[in-house]
Homo-oligomer: 538 residues x 2
């Protein structure tokens, strides 16, 4: 049976920008666009060039290689011609392959929001699409509030959609802008619209999660004939979010009900990158990942298996709806078993650490990691700290130097000129080869001061760390409130292209930062030694 | 049209107990059971008496007044009679009104997990139900893995369900234990089961969220004839969670599509308690509330309304699918650099600050907010800081006290016993009524120390801040790497149920924290003064 093509349209950078608490910089958008492009999304909607400085800058060049790069914006203003509308021009001349217009399709909005007649609105839709096509670009039309508009005035909503289609829009997207439409209503309305003459292959669905059914609405629309789904990474978006592409993609690719009938633009083996894509996105935004997220959540395949007989564990299909590895996630049976051990052995192998499966030190390492992760350490995110912990537990790591003590001070006071200034200073006492070295440094803040002081004079190791650089610093407060503990993640790099992450956890942010800094320095010294050919771990 | 009765079965305390990271004590369970009872749930499943000490203790007495109190557990063991099965006895004699048995309904599990024949399993179901009814209690049967079992062997799955029904079970609950069933499959299978002779009024649905469709599956089952829905508060539960009752209840009570046909056991006016129920539950478990949760999330009705014309704000139905007040939530039109003047005026109005639309100070406030937000301040997340900024810009805020200087120190060293310890100390110099007060404090970390020192002695204001409490602390590094600036958000509360957020931004985390702490204290002093009846802003 020939499969039909289903198109995925990502609006993370546009509708996702509306998420409370999220603000993308041009750098953020550039990175995310390339991640989406590499993963295989068909359309990447980048933002609204002309509406704000960030998006205008972002659209100065095309940001995707394979995916269509889409500019979003309003239809032509009433009362001016297409060639005289600067907003329209900004959209069409932006560095995108396509323009996605948001058009009113609810007569009430046409009247109260735009203050024009129903027919004028149709003309604006038509003119916008035609101008886009004339400029050699693909046109899409988001019919805003479509389902509510259809319920209020089905003839007019249909007319808006038809106008867009007949003007040459490649896609007419039905938007559940308020998010309150139910799946059965989506099924009915999409069916009626197709009956009215717009082919399903030109229809898209843009759902919101206000009744917790954005995914279900998207799939209901596909069942009814729609062939484009709009959504965002990790379901971000206004209010309760957009349809979560990270949830939809595996369902479409792994459930035979869909996989047998539809084909996406995503390669089969790309699916195993899904968990990493989702988590990288959260890290970028410094968002707490959703532990219970379908498919990719840390707990998505975790069972407190009390009821499962061990015999069942041999046939995962009896308690798992899909194989966790297929989406790049892993099974967590939170009772010690063989499955857990092989995960560890693989992780160690990937770092060049060989250990026998029955070595008691391996058990010790596993329980140490579990214990620490329960208290806040995130080894998944801190590969270098994991490696150090493993090397220390399974063998030995040289004691390059010792930090005897440190003191960090932040002072805010008025200077001699009466200006308020804040000064941060750190003093570190290290012992290298039995010799005590005392260093002091000032910095932008307490952690920066501590970092500089720590690396100011490490005796004979000074040359080794000369090219060590702190590249990124992330803080997360776990447990919140007064019982809070702080987790610090530090990314470091050096003159090679290597980058590594280290972690520290404490109720004291300086302490947590210190742990992560130390791990970074030790890792660097170990790395240099290995590259020089010495034996690192015995 | 007479409405049919729909029953809600809460398994927060049983299936919810399987949530990674959640462990209820008897006290927790008692409190939650009474909350569920008061809200109007029909069934409260309390746990598995006999399986663990907590649940055994919990079932020593009935914990609900109105709701049926349900004991959960496995069907009778094969090979022993009902009267000789201590596990069964524990369930039947527990202080509940009903027993809900989990029964195998997938032949593969009957074989591999139980090691008995298909017929023996049916006998166990029958005997368990009959013993329960003979003891004067209601019997329910959870058909475990029902949908997967039905797909593998429809005749056997049906036989299990029928056996339960014919033995007298009030409810036969179809469980999507693996969570991978799609709504269309639920519709089909429920329909076929009803055709096979089990009335919908005796059928229940127990969905899991592994494809993000637990809510949709529950509603699909209801559409197909099922009349009991099982779920949990805030969708907790194994892996990706159970069906979220907090999402389902408003949909069933507010959407005419359901409200016209079905009646729940929850009073209409109870619905306004929903948001509080949801947040109280999160507080109890020290869980971060899901900001984007449908209906009850902090962001569920928050718009970064740039595109919305001010005229639309007059008719909320045009952009909101239900009235937020109906579920005890509120509309938040957020102050952000995308907002227009009317947004600002609304935000100020809600805080009791009146200003004329053409007042030049309003323009100054707007540009100040935009400037600061561009440099990292997040006023939409920090309502109290916004209010202070507004009051200062539009009028005057009293100078309650002045911080002349502060000094924070973190020191890590070996103590007299040779143990490594970290000490944090802060010294703050304040001026109150021309008098200089010097305070010192130690704390868990530098910010905690600074907080305690700042509030240790504020002279005549000390009584005013006695009940001030720092409840949550969030840090975010913006711009990353070496050019990083730090944004700190602090949540505070006091003896009233008020909670407020303040923000601070600096390249120095201590400085940023200090700004947020200061705003919190000033806000508290202002709040006390207003409540005492004085004029706060001139």
């Amino acid at each position: 049976m020939t499969r039909e093509r289903l198109y995925l349209f990502d609006t993370t950078l546009r509708d996702g920008q509306q998420t409370p608490g999220i603000d993308f910089s041009v750098e953020d958008k550039t990175l995310i666009a390339s991640m989406l492009d590499a993963f295989g999304l068909d359309y990447v909607e980048g933002g609204y060039p002309g509406a704000n400085p960030t998006d205008t800058a972002f659209f100065e060049k095309k940001r995707t290689k394979k995916a269509a790069f889409v500019a979003f914006g309003m239809t032509k203003r009433a009362g001016v011609s297409a060639s005289n509308d600067p907003g329209l021009a900004a959209l069409i001349h932006a560095a995108g392959d396509a323009v996605c217009f948001v058009a009113k399709s609810w007569d009430y909005h046409v009247d109260v929001a735009l203050g024009i007649s129903n027919d004028e609105n149709l003309d604006c839709i038509k003119a916008s699409v035609e101008a886009t096509i004339a400029a050699g670009k693909e046109a899409l039309v988001d019919c805003e509030h479509f389902f509510d508009g259809y319920k209020a005035n089905p003839a007019y909503a249909t007319a808006c959609a038809k106008t867009a289609y007949e003007a040459g829009a490649r896609w007419v997207v039905l938007c559940d802008t308020n998010g309150g439409t139910l799946p059965g209503e989506v099924t009915r309305i999409v069916g009626e619209l197709i009956e009215a003459g717009i082919p399903g292959r030109n229809l898209g669905i843009h759902a919101h999660n206000d009744t917790g059914q954005a995914v279900a609405n998207s799939l209901a629309a596909v069942e009814a004939g729609v062939r484009q789904i709009q959504g965002t990474l990790n379901g971000i978006g206004e209010r309760c979010g957009n349809a979560n592409l990270v949830t939809l993609i595996p369902t479409l690719m792994l459930k035979p009900h869909y996989a047998e009938r539809f084909e996406l633009g995503i390669d089969g083996d790309k699916l195993t990158d899904l968990t990493r894509l989702s988590r990288t996105f959260d890290e970028l935004l410094n968002r707490n990942p959703e532990h219970q997220a379908p498919y990719v959540g840390q707990s998505a395949f975790a069972t407190k298996a009390g009821i499962h007989a061990s015999a069942l564990l041999k046939d995962p299909k009896t308690y798992e709806h899909v194989d966790p590895e297929s989406v790049g996630n892993q099974r967590r049976v939170m009772v010690s078993d063989q499955g857990g051990k092989s995960n560890f052995l693989n992780a160690l192998k990937r770092r060049g650490i060989e250990v026998a499966k029955d070595d008691p030190k391996l058990d010790r390492l596993i329980s140490l990691v579990k214990e620490r992760e329960a208290s806040g350490y995130a080894y998944e995110a801190a590969d270098a700290s994991f490696e150090l912990l493993a090397r220390r537990t399974l063998g030995r790591v040289p004691d390059f130097f010792e930090v005897q003590s440190f003191r960090v001070m932040v002072e805010r006071r008025f200077d001699a000129l009466g200006n308020l200034k804040t000064v941060s200073e750190a003093v570190v006492r290290v012992i290298v080869d039995g010799e005590e070295i005392l260093s002091v440094a000032e910095g932008q803040g307490p952690v920066n001061a501590l970092d500089i002081a720590l690396r100011k004079d490490l005796g004979k190791f000074q040359a080794d760390i000369a090219d060590l650089e702190l590249v990124d610093y992330k803080v997360r407060i776990l447990n919140g409130g007064t019982e809070a503990i702080t987790r610090v993640l530090i990314e470091s790099s050096d003159a090679t292209t290597d980058r590594w992450w280290t972690v520290g956890v404490s109720d004291n942010i300086i302490d947590a930062s210190f742990q992560a800094l130390m791990d970074s320095v030790i890792y660097k010294l170990l790395k240099n030694r290995e590259q020089a050919g010495s034996v690192a771990a015995e």
